[in-house]
C-alpha cells in the first residue's frame, strides 16, 4: 500500500528537498496505513455515534434529530432539545451513580493494575529466579483463559459457601470469610481479584521493557556499589517508565470501559448499584432498553472523561517518563 508513495518520493525533485522535508515525507509514508484505516473503518462510525447522541435513535425505529420534535421545541427551544440526551446525563441519577461507581473502582483498581504486574515482572526478571522459561508461561497463562470460562471459574472460586478461596481462608482460621460476590461491601474487592488475572499483558510489556535495559547500566551501578532497591528505583524504573506510561493510559481507558466482568456476572449481581459501571449502564441503555441516542451520549461522556485523563497523564509525563531517544 505504501509502494507508490515511496517510489515517487525517490525520484524527481527529491534533491531539492531539505532533510526535514524529506523526513516529513517519509513520516507520512509510514503513517499512511493508519490514516487510511482510520478513515475507512473508524472515522465514520465515530462520527455517526456522535450524531446519534443528538437523536432519538431507538433500535428499529426511524432516526430523528431531537430538535425535530415540534412538541419539545415549542416548550424548550430547539437548541436545548438538541442537547436533550446530554442534559439527561446530568439529571439522571443512575448515570451519575454509574460514573461515580466507575471512578471509585478506578481509584482502587488503577494502582493495582500497575503495581501488581510491575512486581511480577520484577520477579520474573530477577537473576536469582530459576526456571524462568516455565514460570513466564505459567504467570502469563491466566491471560490466555477465554473470558467466558474465566468468569465462570471465578464465580465458582469466589462463592461464599463452596468457593476454593473461602475454603482456603477457613483452613487459615477465618471462620466467616466474606461472601465475595453477593455482599456489596466486598464486590469491588472481588472484581479486583478477578482483574488480577488480566494483568498478563501489562506484565509482559514491563518485562519486555526491563529486558531492554542495557546491562552496562546495571554494571555501572554495581561498580558504584548500589543495592537492589536503589538500582530498581534509579535505573529500572526510569528506564521502563515509557511502558509504565503506556500501561497507565491503557489501564485508565480500560477501567472507564470496564464491562466484561460485570456483564457476565450481571445475572447474579444485578440488583447491586455498586456493580452498575458506566459502560454496563451505557450498554443496557443502548441494547437492552433500545435507547441508542442516550447511550451514544453516555459513550461520549466516557470518551471525554477518559480523554481528559489521557491528556492529563501525557502532560505530566514529561516529568517522570524518560525516553533514551530524547522523546
Amino acid at each position: 500500500m505504501t509502494t507508490s508513495t515511496a517510489t515517487s518520493a525517490n525520484i524527481g525533485p527529491e534533491s531539492r528537498l531539505t532533510i526535514l522535508q524529506r523526513q516529513r515525507r517519509w513520516g507520512w509514508v509510514f503513517l499512511s496505513p493508519w490514516i487510511f484505516g482510520f478513515f475507512v473503518f473508524t472515522f465514520f462510525p465515530m462520527i455517526a455515534s456522535f450524531v446519534f447522541s443528538f437523536t432519538n435513535f431507538r433500535i428499529g425505529e426511524p432516526i430523528q434529530l431531537l430538535s425535530d420534535n415540534p412538541a419539545c421545541v415549542a416548550e424548550f427551544g430547539s437548541l436545548r432539545c438538541l442537547f436533550g440526551n446530554w442534559e439527561k446525563m446530568f439529571t439522571d441519577p443512575v448515570t451519575s451513580n454509574a460514573l461515580g461507581v466507575t471512578l471509585r473502582f478506578m481509584l482502587i483498581a488503577a494502582p493495582i493494575s500497575i503495581l501488581f504486574p510491575l512486581g511480577m515482572a520484577s520477579l520474573l526478571n530477577s537473576k536469582f529466579l530459576l526456571g524462568k522459561p516455565i514460570l513466564r508461561v505459567l504467570f502469563y497463562m491466566p491471560f490466555m483463559v477465554p473470558a467466558i470460562s474465566g468468569v465462570f471459574i471465578w464465580q465458582s472460586y469466589l462463592n461464599g459457601q463452596t468457593g476454593y478461596l473461602n475454603r482456603i481462608l477457613r483452613l487459615l482460621g477465618i471462620t466467616e470469610p466474606p461472601n465475595w460476590l453477593f455482599d456489596s461491601a466486598y464486590m469491588h474487592t472481588a472484581f479486583v481479584l478477578i482483574g488480577l488475572w488480566g494483568v498478563g499483558n501489562a506484565m509482559l510489556t514491563m518485562l519486555a521493557s526491563m529486558q531492554g535495559v542495557p546491562t552496562e547500566l546495571y554494571e555501572a551501578a554495581r561498580v558504584d556499589g548500589a543495592t537492589g532497591p536503589v538500582v530498581f528505583w534509579k535505573i529500572t524504573l526510569p528506564m521502563i517508565s515509557p511502558v509504565i506510561l503506556y500501561n497507565l493510559v491503557l489501564s485508565l481507558v480500560g477501567l472507564m470501559q470496564y464491562f466484561i466482568v460485570p456483564y457476565v456476572m450481571s445475572n447474579t449481581t444485578r440488583s447491586d448499584p455498586s456493580a452498575n459501571f458506566i459502560n454496563l449502564h451505557l450498554y443496557r441503555t443502548g441494547f437492552a432498553f433500545g435507547d441508542m441516542g442516550f447511550a451514544s451520549a453516555q459513550a461520549w461522556l466516557i470518551f471525554i472523561v477518559a480523554l481528559a485523563f489521557t491528556v492529563g497523564i501525557f502532560a505530566t509525563s514529561r516529568r517522570w517518563v524518560y525516553y533514551a531517544s530524547g522523546g
Binding site: L31, S49, S325
Partner: protein, 363 residues
C-alpha cells in the same frame, strides 16, 4: 536523567565473607526467590486448578459441598443384585467395617458386606449421613474427547488459528511502520494525531458497533473473515502506542550512524530499530494472538450463520446455553483451546532472554 546512581553504602559483609559463605548466600537467594515465586504462583493459579478440576468431573461430581475433596472423587461402589451400591465405613460392635448400602431411610440403613455377601443383609440403626463414605479418585478425562467431538474442535481450531495468525501478521507489519513514524519522524501535528489515534480506543465500542456493522454489511463483508482480519492491516492504537513507547527508549545514535552510512528509513527500520525491539515486537504479536484467540463478540456477529467459519470462542458457547450449562465441557474446551497459545508463548518468550544479550552487546 535518573540514570546516575547514588553512591550507596558499601556492603562490607559481602566483601569480607569467606568464599563459601558468598556462594552459600547466593545459593540461598536463588532458593528464596524461586520459592517465593512458586508459592505466589500456586496462589495465583489456584483458580486455574479449579478450572482443571471442573473439566475432569462427571455431571454427578459437579455438585460439591464446602467439605468435599477438591479432587473428583466418586463413591466406591459394590455391585449387588444388578445395582451399584455406595460403600460406607460403618461401626458395628466396636469394629469399623466397609459396607455397601442397599437401602436407606433417615433412621436406619440396610447394608451388605462386600467381603462376605453370603452373610446376608445387615440392618444398622442410625442416620447414614453421619457415616463416612469410602471414596476413590475418579477423573473423567473423557470430557475432553466429548467436547472435542461435539463441537468439531479441529475445524474451530483451524479457523481460530487462521484468523489469529493473519491478523497478527497484519498488525505487526502496520503497527511497526506507524509506530516508527510516531517515534522518529517530525510530522506536523504529530501529537494531535497521536491523541486521535488513542481516541479511537477511548470511545466505547458498543456505540460504534451498529455503524461499523452496517458498513461491513454494505460492502458484503459480513459472513466472512474479512471484518476480523483486514482492519488489523491498518494499525491499531494499542500496539502502535506500545511500539512507539519502546522505540522511544532506543537511543538515536545508532539511527544517525546508519543514516550517515547512507541507509534510508526502511533500512534503518529493518536493520537498526527492529533488531533492538524484538522483545516488544514479540509482546505485540503474542498480545494480538491471544486477544484474537479469545475475541468473542466480533466473530459472533460477523460470522452469524456461518458455522463453518466460526472460531473456538464462538463454538464453546454451545455449552453455555441459557437453560443447562455444561461447566465441565466449557472448561475442558477452554483448556484445550489454550494449548496452542501456551505453546506459542513458550516458544516466543525465548526471545526475551536474547533481548538482553543483543542490547548488551551492541551498545
Amino acid at each position: 536523567m535518573a540514570t546516575t546512581v547514588n553512591k550507596a553504602t558499601y556492603n562490607k559483609a559481602v566483601n569480607t565473607s569467606p568464599f563459601y559463605a558468598v556462594q552459600l548466600r547466593k545459593f540461598a537467594t536463588y532458593g528464596l526467590v524461586t520459592m517465593f515465586a512458586v508459592l505466589f504462583l500456586l496462589v495465583y493459579l489456584s483458580p486455574l486448578a479449579n478450572m482443571f478440576m471442573v473439566a475432569i468431573r462427571s455431571q454427578e461430581q459437579l455438585s460439591q459441598t464446602a467439605d468435599s475433596s477438591i479432587f473428583p472423587m466418586g463413591a466406591k461402589k459394590y455391585e449387588y443384585k444388578g445395582k451399584q451400591l455406595p460403600i460406607f465405613k460403618v461401626e458395628i460392635d466396636g469394629v469399623t467395617r466397609e459396607l455397601a448400602q442397599v437401602s436407606a431411610t433417615r433412621r436406619s440403613s440396610v447394608f451388605i458386606d462386600p467381603a462376605n455377601p453370603e452373610a446376608g443383609e445387615i440392618t444398622w440403626e442410625g442416620n447414614w449421613r453421619t457415616l463416612e463414605p469410602v471414596q476413590v479418585m475418579e477423573a473423567h478425562f473423557e470430557n475432553f474427547a466429548e467436547a472435542w467431538e461435539l463441537i468439531n474442535f479441529p475445524r474451530l481450531m483451524g479457523n481460530t488459528l487462521f484468523i489469529a495468525v493473519t491478523g497478527m501478521i497484519g498488525t505487526l507489519l502496520s503497527c511497526i511502520c506507524v509506530a516508527y513514524a510516531f517515534a522518529r519522524f517530525p510530522i506536523p501535528g504529530k501529537n494531535l494525531m497521536f491523541i486521535i489515534l488513542l481516541g479511537t480506543i477511548i470511545l466505547p465500542g458498543q456505540v460504534t458497533l451498529i455503524p461499523t456493522y452496517a458498513f461491513f454489511a454494505s460492502i458484503k463483508w459480513t459472513g466472512t473473515w474479512l471484518p476480523l482480519i483486514v482492519p488489523h492491516f491498518f494499525a491499531n492504537a494499542y500496539n502502535v502506542f506500545l511500539l512507539r513507547q519502546y522505540f522511544l527508549t532506543l537511543p538515536r545514535e545508532l539511527d544517525e550512524a546508519a543514516m550517515i552510512d547512507g541507509a534510508g528509513p526502511f533500512r534503518i527500520l529493518l536493520n537498526v530499530i527492529i533488531p533492538q525491539s524484538w522483545a516488544a515486537i514479540i509482546s505485540v504479536g503474542v498480545f494480538h494472538f491471544v486477544w484474537s484467540w479469545n475475541d468473542f463478540f466480533g466473530p459472533l456477529i460477523y460470522l452469524l450463520g456461518q458455522k463453518e467459519l466460526q472460531p473456538v470462542s464462538v463454538g464453546i458457547q454451545v455449552f453455555n446455553f441459557q437453560y443447562g450449562q455444561r461447566p465441565d465441557l466449557i472448561q475442558a474446551t477452554s483448556l484445550m483451546a489454550m494449548a496452542i497459545p501456551v505453546i506459542i508463548f513458550f516458544l516466543a518468550q525465548r526471545v526475551f532472554m536474547r533481548g538482553v544479550v543483543i542490547t548488551g552487546v551492541e551498545k
